[in-house]
Structures are given as C-alpha cells and as structure tokens.
C-alpha cells in the first residue's frame, strides 16, 4: 500500500480514512450516510452530530470484545478496526424490524406499560422475548477482561475544557503557585478554535497560530498539567470529580496496558469551561439520514477536513450559522438554500450581505416543514413567509435550533440554573460549591466579553494578572435567537413523525399524549415517554422538550423546570469503575500458614469471609463430600482429629480497666474467674440479640484474650472500639487484633491427650493438672505456645496457639507423633456436624440477629449478679420474655431412615393441602441438619415457636418435594449430655 490511508471495516466493507478520523468522519469521507437503525421503530438513521452528544450513530466495535453503543462521532479509527452497525437484522439496508415503523401508530408513549399487561405468563413467555428481539441497542460484549486503573489528584484548580475560555484561564494561572489540572475531552486543545470558523484572529494572529503558542506556554509552565482524551463524568460534593481518560485513542488497545484511567480529582476550585451543545429542532422526518446539526457540519469541515455535502440547505433560528455559511462559500460549496425562522429585520447584516453577494436562495421568516426520502434526504419542503410549501431537492440539511450551555456538570455540582429569555436556554445562576463558569457554559456567547469575564471571575486568585487580548470574529458579535421548538406539520398521516428524542424514538406526539394522560410533571413525563433517557441523555433535545411542554401547558419554561441531571455525563465503562479490583484482586484471599499442607492433602476449600478454609479432605479421588465428612467425624469420635482453626478472630484486651470492660462486653461474669482460665462467652447488641460468641481467656484482671467467629473478627473489634471510645472513654483499656499473630489448631478426640503428651512431653496433661477450660503458656523449641483445654466437638480437646512462623513445623510434628494413632485432618463441614451432635450453636446459622441467649436456652451464660452489660436491659423487655418466641430445639425423625433438609419449615399440621388457599401455620425453621454416623440417624436443630414446651411432642418438617416428615422434638443435645467425653 502506498497511500497513507487507514483502513477499517464497516458492516463487512472496507473503507479508508485519514489519521485522526473518527468512524463518523471517515464514513462521511466515503459518503456513507446510513449508519444505524433506531431503537423502537427501526428507522434508518445517520450521523447527526460531530461529538459526544451523538444520539444516532452508535456502533459496535467487533475487535474490542464486541464493545457496544460506541459513538461513531467520538471513536477514532485505526488500521484493522472492525465496526458493525447496530439494531438491524438481517442487514442495515433491509431490516426486518422496520415493520415496527409500519405498526408505529400503536407504539405510542406508555405503549409497553399499557399493552403487555396480561394474561399471566404472557409477559415472560411471549411479550418479553418478542420485545427483546426487536427493541434495544447493541449486543453485550463478550470475553471481556478489564484493564483499567484509577489515579488520584489533589489540585488547587481544575479547569474543565481546553477551548478558548479554558486556555485563557490556564494562561492566567500559568506561573502562579497554584496546582492546576486542565482537562480536555478531545485529543487536541482548542475547542471552538478547532471546531469552527468563528474566530478570525487573536491578537492579530491566526487562531491556530495563537493556539499553538499558548499550548507551548502552558506545557512549559511547571504548575499546569494537561490531560487530553479525558472526559469529566461526575461532579460530586466537596469538589470531588471523576474523569475517564481513554488511553488508546486511534489505536488498537494493547493487551497488557490499561485502556481506561479513572481519574479521581479533589480540587479547591473548579473552573467549568466546558462550552455549549447545539440543539436540534423538531419537524417531520427530522431523523432522516442527511439531517445534521449545523455546528457539527462545520466541525467536520474544520477539524477533519471532510465536507459532508457540497450543497446542503441551512435551517436556523439564530445567528450562530453565519460561520458555516461563510465557510461553505469560502470552500466553493454554495448552500442550496438558507432558511431562517427570524424576520429579515432581525437577521444580521453580515449574513444578509453574504447571501446576497453569492446569490443564495434565502427564505426569511420561513421554516422547514419536513423532509422526504427513503433511507436518506431527497427533498426538503419549506414553508415560506407566505405559508406556501415549496420543495427543494437536496441531500443534506444543516439545522441549528440554538445553543445550550453544557450545564450538566454545573447542576451535578448542585448549582442552580436560571432560564434566560434572551438566549432561550438555561444558564448557571448560583454556584453551590467553589465552581466558576467561563465562556459559553455560563451563557456568554459573545467572544469579546470573555476577557472581561475571566479577569473578573478569576481575580480572587492570588498571583494572577489581568489578561489583555484582542479577539476578532467572523460575522456579528451579537447572539440573536427566535423561539421555535417544532415547525408546523402539513402531513396529518398517522405515520408522520417529528422526533423529540432520536435515541429513544420519542416523538413530539408522545409528549402531547403524555400530558393528555396526566403526566404533566416533567419528571413523570420523562419516565412515561422515556424522553432524554437514552445513553445521550437528550443532550441535543432535552431543552427542546421543555420548550414544547411549556407551550402545551401554557407555562414558562422556568415553571416547568428541568429533570435532574444525573452523573455520569456520558456512559462510563464498568471496567473503568472496577479498575484493578477485578478477578483475583476483587477481594483479598486470606490463607492460613498451613494452607500448603491442606493443598497437598487434597483439601477442598470453603470461603469463610475472605478466608480459605478446608471444607473436607478427599482421602481418595472419587470421595464425595458426604463420604469424607462421615469418615472424618466418625474418626474424631473414635480416635482423634485436627482442625486448622487459625482463622478464628483473636482480640487482645489490656489495661487497668480490662476486667470492667470485658464484663460490659460479654454476658458472662469474669470477676471471680481465676487467672489462666477460660470461658465460653456471648456478646450481645444493645437490643439483646446475639452478635458473636467466643472463648475469653483471662491472663489476669488487666489482660484478656478473646476469640471471635472467623467471619466476625473485624466487626467484633470495631464494636468493642466503639464502646471503649464513645461510651466509656474514661476506661483504661486497649484493644488489638492479634488474629494473624497466632495460628490455631484444634485437636479433639479420645486420643488427643495422648498425642499432646507426646508432642509436649514436659507438660502434664492430666485432668487434675490441666482441667477443662484452663490454659498454659509453654516454651516449645524456643517459641511460645499457648495451649487451651477447650472443645467444640464435645470430645476431650485442646486448642494450640502458635506463632505463624512455626505453625507448619508444629502441625507436621503433631502428625509425626501420632503416626501410629491415625490422627485425621478434618474440615469445617465435619466441625459443623460434630458440634451439632452436641447442640453447640454456630453464629449465623442458629442465630440471625433476632435471637437472644434466652431463645437458645443459654441462660447459664448470663452473669446474673452483674449490674450491667451491653444488651442486658433488653433481655427483660416484654417482647423478649414472651413464652412463644422461637426457641432452639433438637429434631429427630420418627422414621430414622429419613433425612431432614436444612432451611425447611417446621409445621404443626401433618398435611399440606394440594391447593394452598390460605397461609400454612409455620412454627419455625430448621437451622442445622446432618446425618450423624455415630448415632446412625439424622439430627437437626430448629428454632420453633414455644419450642421449650414442645419437647417430647411430634411435629412435622416440610420437604422440597412438598411432603412432610414427622419428627420428635428433643433437647438440642444428641450425644453425651453428661459431658463424659468432654471432661474425660
């Protein structure tokens, strides 16, 4: 290839574009006008604008994970890019869905709400699949892997927009001691200087020459940082803004590099210099390919050097189209006609002179009635001053319905806007934050006023000098506009359409109908018609809708108000929001020091909070979980087992008032407890509900160590901190999380004492010397180990606390010393089964935040003599002491071959009627259920109403196949109620 063209594919066909072209400018270069089908009616659509405001030209980038809804007017082409049009089948030219256009008279506002109501089941099976096939925009991306990062900035001044006002503001701040960040959406600075023919000269230099010099000056100043290809999407409270930077503009995204950067900016002052957006007008077939906004047409010529059409028609209601007219004439492209809604007396002299000098057909006080053509404009009909319709052959129509300050970010910042009767639009009125608006975003459309505005509004910044600059413009300096929102329609056909929202296919008729049906509040009307609810958020049309509605309601636009502008300013990829927090980085994984051993011994892991815990160990390849759990648990009861309990939360409580504090935090009493002993303890909320449980070890009155559930460690610590700091700040107590300072092993089973005696052969483990619920600190191979006699299985058992560095060594030693005993490693599932046999509760399984210690018959854990502890008073509230509260019971199936399902309902009635016409009386629910290999039958725990009084009676448990199982209510303690094993 010898040319320097960039080749890409659109709908399978190869096109060449220039470097810097957007998909839209390249397609226009190739004279492609039809680029998509509309959302609801599948009408042919073309390129309407030249930027971020585009409602129509949304495409799918096939070679970028099928990225949908990409604006062709923004995305730059690169070699080998594959682009597809959206929302058409089988092809853009012959689209099946355009039958919707024929049916369109019935698709009016609220159509979906009204039509697809019944009968039952029709929505799911018929309506929804049907609508999904024909409505909607792009197809979702696939094989998408996020590659984005986040960056933080703290600056003094943020300038949004690198156009004329933004550049002047930056210039004024250059060399000051302020940290300035200048953000530009396009890949080049310049804004209006690049997009239009409006500025003739600045300080007697060509606009682009001045731009180049200014950019060099800013680049050389040390206090200004410039970000290009970056769009500010969100303006939050406390001057916090987020912006998305596209790192792969005009290039295929690289595999390993971030595609997007989410900038989080905190600033002292924000300067909004983000300009304005031209608005369209509603007329018959104003959506036909070939209709384009006038300033966009001008931008294609100026910025991209593409003339979309050599002889377009210009249709305007304001003075801003002069620059396009002049540009076209300079390019030897004579417009076919110039149609101005204004009276000739109101039209600028410069415009009139130019039209006359070049003999351009001129229609003052006239309007475009509509346009016609099959898939693009062929003819435009004009309603003249004398109310006569004449038809002009043309293939493009440039429309300007006025200029809107881009107030999106300003209103996000919670500033107030005000309707300006002179320029017929909303403009910023009062800032809420430190926000300054400059240039056209502040409603200032007159260039010569910009210098004064900047000097005035930025004078409060230290170290700035007034700037002095001479700006000469092409045409008139004044901005003059006549109010019009929709032109008069001659065609009364039901199929005739005048659009108010191109992306969502909302017509002006829909607005009328919505108001007729009572949706006359603007926020209601928006939702009923879906006006301005597309991905473009009605950037070129939402103000027009307010104009039309205000006329219909005979109210002022101010009274109608606007809908709330909500972030983001334009669509933001989820990838940018996620940043690096994806896949393995989404949530940290916590592993115990024994983790490698677990893997080597075929552990299957379970997530407990962020922890990876062995769930069960596969003894052989095909062993199922059920088989493993039965094997492991039986073995613990017969010999011994070891569980990695390192994930247990551990909190150290120290200080002169530690005892008083622990007494307040837990239900139990710790005062009379002997040093070096331990207690199973309950923690409540002030509402009396169980929050957590654990074992509290007392070293002395000034030093305690408590354990928490694996998932609850952080919450328990912050609960303790809250009370220590806010309720009793006078108590001398210090809290410290030591979860990761100790690995913990739980060894239990009848042979556990024998194993420990072998490992720690100088410690006396006899019942006298080392009774249940006591602990010892010992030295083992020069490191400190704490051994606690405690058990969560009901067997003789010990917990060993060891610094993590030595944990794996000790773990392996324990196995070495018990090689003739058959010590079995067991996981969390077996732990759950073993504790259920003993009726021990699990926080979050037997409790759910509505369960008190009384409900679980744990009254023995409440320090009766204690004057106060957190939640104590709540335990005597009338509701808490009711006899028919749900209470914890055990369930055993009458037919012992049956299994009980966890989570099933417990009911009083034997029969579930085949046709359920009234609620079935429920007693409660099954909280835990297992098959006990030791007892050789199913056991379950349940919370049921008035459970304590039901012990010994027969009730029923539902099953997932609509049956019931008869069960006997028993005390929730199925094995060794005398604790002989535990204390042996």
């Amino acid at each position: 290839m010898t040319d320097n063209k960039i080749y890409f594919k659109f709908d399978g066909k190869r096109y060449g574009g220039n470097k810097g072209d957007t998909i839209a400018s390249a397609l226009l270069r190739n004279n492609v006008k039809l680029v998509g089908r509309s959302f609801k009616y599948h009408r042919p659509r073309g390129i309407y604008t030249c930027g971020i405001e585009e409602p129509n030209a949304l495409v799918q980038i096939i070679n970028e994970h099928n990225e949908p809804n990409v604006r062709a007017t923004v995305k730059k082409i690169y070699e080998g890019m594959v682009v597809k049009s959206q929302n058409r089948w089988p092809s853009l030219k012959r689209d099946f869905g355009s039958v919707n256009n024929l049916l369109s008279p019935i698709f009016s506002a609220g159509f979906y709400y009204k039509t697809f109501m019944g009968p039952k089941g029709f929505w799911k099976n018929l309506y929804e699949p049907l609508i999904r096939r024909t409505a909607g925009l792009g197809k979702p991306p696939h094989e998408f892997k996020s590659k984005s990062t986040h960056l933080h900035h703290n600056v003094d001044i943020l300038i949004i927009g690198g156009g004329l006002s933004g550049l002047l503001a930056a210039k004024k701040l250059a060399g000051t001691n302020k940290d300035v960040l200048l953000i530009e959406r396009e890949n080049e600075l310049g804004g209006i200087l690049k997009n239009s023919n409006k500025i003739k000269s600045i300080n007697d230099q060509e606009a682009l020459e001045w731009l180049e010099k200014t950019e060099r000056l800013l680049k050389n100043s040390t206090n200004i940082k410039i970000l290009k290809n970056t769009t500010v999407t969100t303006y939050n409270y406390s001057n916090h803004l987020t912006a998305i930077e596209d790192k792969s503009v005009g290039a295929q995204p690289e595999n390993k590099k971030p595609e997007l950067v989410l900038h989080k900016i905190r600033t002292e002052n924000t300067i909004l210099a983000n300009g304005h957006i031209e608005r369209f007008l509603s007329f018959r077939n104003n959506d036909l390919p070939g209709v384009m906004l006038a300033a966009s047409f001008e931008k294609y010529i100026q910025r991209y050097d593409v003339v979309p059409d050599n002889n377009p028609i210009i249709f305007t209601n304001n003075s801003s189209t002069f620059s396009l007219l002049q540009l076209l004439i300079n390019r030897n492209c004579k417009p076919k006609a110039y149609i101005d809604v204004r009276d000739v007396k109101k039209i600028e002299r410069e415009t009139l002179n130019l039209l006359e000098a070049h003999n351009i057909p001129f229609y003052p006080k006239s309007e475009v009635e509509g346009c016609d053509g099959n898939s693009e404009i062929k003819k435009i009909s004009v309603r003249t001053k004398k109310n006569k319709i004449i038809k002009i052959k043309a293939s493009m129509l440039c429309v300007s319905g006025g200029l809107n300050p881009d107030i999106h970010l300003f209103t996000q910042s919670k500033g107030l806007v005000k309707w300006d009767e002179k320029i017929l639009t909303f403009k910023p009125e009062k800032s809420f934050q430190n926000t300054i608006t400059l240039g056209s975003v502040s409603g200032n459309f007159i260039f010569k006023n910009i210098i004064e505005e900047i000097n005035k509004k930025l004078s409060f910044i230290d170290g700035t000098n007034d700037i002095d600059l001479k700006i000469e413009v092409n045409g008139s300096e004044e901005f003059n506009i006549k109010e019009i929102w929709e032109t008069k329609n001659n065609n009364k056909s039901l199929w005739s359409k005048s659009f108010i929202d191109l992306q969502n296919d909302v017509t002006t008729k829909d607005l009328t109908q919505a108001i007729r049906e009572g949706f006359d509040r603007i926020e209601h009307l928006k939702r009923f018609t879906t006006n301005s609810m597309g991905t473009d958020q009605g950037k070129i049309s939402s103000i027009n809708a307010l104009g039309i509605v205000s006329k219909l309601l005979r109210k002022s636009v101010s009274e109608v108000g606007t809908t709330t502008y909500r972030p983001p300013y334009n669509p933001v990829s989820f990838s940018a929001i996620a940043g690096r927090s994806t896949y393995e980085f989404y949530d940290p994984e916590r592993k115990t020091p024994i983790h490698p051993w677990h893997i080597k011994h075929n552990a299957v892991f379970e997530d407990v909070g962020q922890w990876k815990r062995p769930w069960y160990y596969k003894k052989y390849e095909n062993e199922t979980m059920n088989e493993a759990v039965q094997r492991e648990s039986k073995h613990v009861r017969e010999a011994a087992g070891i569980l990695d309990g390192s994930t247990l939360g551990k909190i150290e409580i120290k200080g002169k008032d530690a005892l008083e504090f622990v007494n307040m935090m837990y239900t139990n009493s710790f005062t009379k407890m002997r040093p070096m002993s331990a207690k199973y303890a309950l923690m409540l909320g002030e509402d009396g509900m169980i929050k957590d449980d654990g074992i509290v070890c007392k070293i002395n009155d000034n030093h305690f160590i408590s354990t928490t559930t694996s998932g609850g460690a952080a919450n328990v610590l912050s609960h303790m901190e809250e009370f220590a700091q806010t309720e009793w700040p006078n108590l001398n107590v210090y809290l410290n999380s030591i979860t990761e300072q100790f690995a913990t092993f739980n060894i239990s089973g009848p042979k556990s004492r024998m194993i420990l005696s072998r490992v720690f052969n100088d410690v006396d483990f006899s019942n006298n010397k080392f009774p249940y619920m006591t602990f010892k600190n010992i030295n083992y191979l020069n490191y400190r180990v704490r051994i606690l006699r405690a058990s969560f299985t009901g067997e003789q058992g010990y917990e060993i606390y060891v610094p993590p560095k030595y944990a794996l060594t000790l773990w392996e030693r324990i196995f070495y010393y018990s090689r003739d005993i058959d010590l079995v490693p067991y996981g969390t599932e077996t732990m759950h089964l073993l504790r259920a046999e003993k009726g021990y509760i699990i926080i979050g399984q037997e409790t759910d935040g509505t369960v008190t210690p009384l409900d679980l018959n744990l009254n023995w854990m409440i320090g009766k003599k204690k004057k106060d502890f957190i939640g104590k008073r709540s335990l005597t509230r009338s509701d808490i002491i009711k006899a028919d509260r749900k209470q914890l019971v055990g369930l055993v199936p009458i037919d012992k071959t049956y299994g009980i399902e966890e989570g099933q309902h417990v009911i009083e009635d034997k029969n579930i009627p085949s046709k359920i016409d009234k609620p079935i009386k429920m007693l409660g629910q099954v909280t835990s259920s297992y098959f006990s290999p030791t007892l050789n039958h199913s056991i379950a725990m349940a919370l049921i109403k008035g459970g304590n009084r039901k012990i010994g009676s027969q009730i029923y448990v539902s099953t997932s196949n609509m049956n019931v199982i008869p069960v006997e209510v028993v005390k929730p303690n199925f094995l060794d109620p005398e604790n002989k094993r535990l204390l042996s």
């Binding site: 939050n236 409270y237 406390s238 001057n239 916090h240 989080k264 905190r266 209103t411 919670k414 500033g415 107030l416 806007v417 005000k418 309707w419 909303f426 009125e429 009062k430 800032s431 809420f432 934050q433 002022s556 101010s558 009274e559 108000g561 606007t562 709330t564 502008y565 002030e686 509402d687 912050s718 901190e721 809250e722 700091q725 806010t726 309720e727 700040p729 004057k867 106060d868 104590k872 008073r873 709540s874 509230r877 009338s878």
Partner: protein, 117 residues
C-alpha cells in the same frame, strides 16, 4: 465523595470513614431502673432531621478514632467535626444556613435545579 476532617488526621476522603449514626445519644446510667419505653428510646429511636444533624463517624481506614460531626442533611455539607467528649456546638450557630422552615437551603439541596422565577 465527601471530604471529612478527622480531628486527629485532617481532611481525608469519605471512603476512609464509616458513619456511626446519631451522636450524643446517652446510654442510661442505670439501665435496670429505666422503663421499657425509655430503654427502647435509647436503643431504637433516632432523630432524622432535614437540616442540622449531629452524628458520629469513625476513621475506620485510618486512625480508627471515633469523632462527632455536624452535617446539614439536606446538602450533605459537613459543617464541623469535633472530638468525642468535646462540648457539641449550639445549633444556633448553624441557623443562618437554613433558609426555609423546612430546613431547605435555596441552593445545593438537590431538590431544585431551577431558580424559582
């Protein structure tokens, strides 16, 4: 994202903090002696004003200290922060912020975008 001034660390992003609900809710000195209703007031009932609100925050991803703040709930402005134990500022101090009886300021509340004609 709000900028919150931790009285110990200075200004930090909101994401470093956790809100702890209404401030200056006093735990009854002798819980055994209060009625069910009084106890329930302490445990469950919180004021929910539109306007000036005294609330607690904890610098959970920072110094972990609890502190108090005064926030205008209709604009989300944090007007003041102060340490636990310090005397709360009088509500009168913020009265000029509230422009209407409902506590709705004329700008920043989020309820109005357009200035009333």
């Amino acid at each position: 994202m709000l900028l919150i001034k931790c009285p110990y660390c200075g200004e930090r992003d909101q994401s470093e903090f956790t809100n702890g609900g209404e401030a200056h809710v006093t735990r009854p000195k002798n819980p055994e002696q209060v009625t069910d209703r009084e106890w329930a007031e302490y445990v469950f009932i919180r004021s929910n004003p539109k306007g000036i609100y005294y609330e607690r925050w904890v610098h959970s991803h920072g110094c972990k200290k609890w502190f108090n703040a005064v926030r205008n709930t209709s604009t989300d402005e944090i007007l003041l922060t102060y340490k636990i134990g310090e005397t709360p500022p009088l509500i009168k101090k913020f009265q000029n912020i509230l422009k209407s009886p409902s506590g709705e300021p004329d700008v920043g509340s989020g309820n109005f975008t357009v200035k009333k004609p």
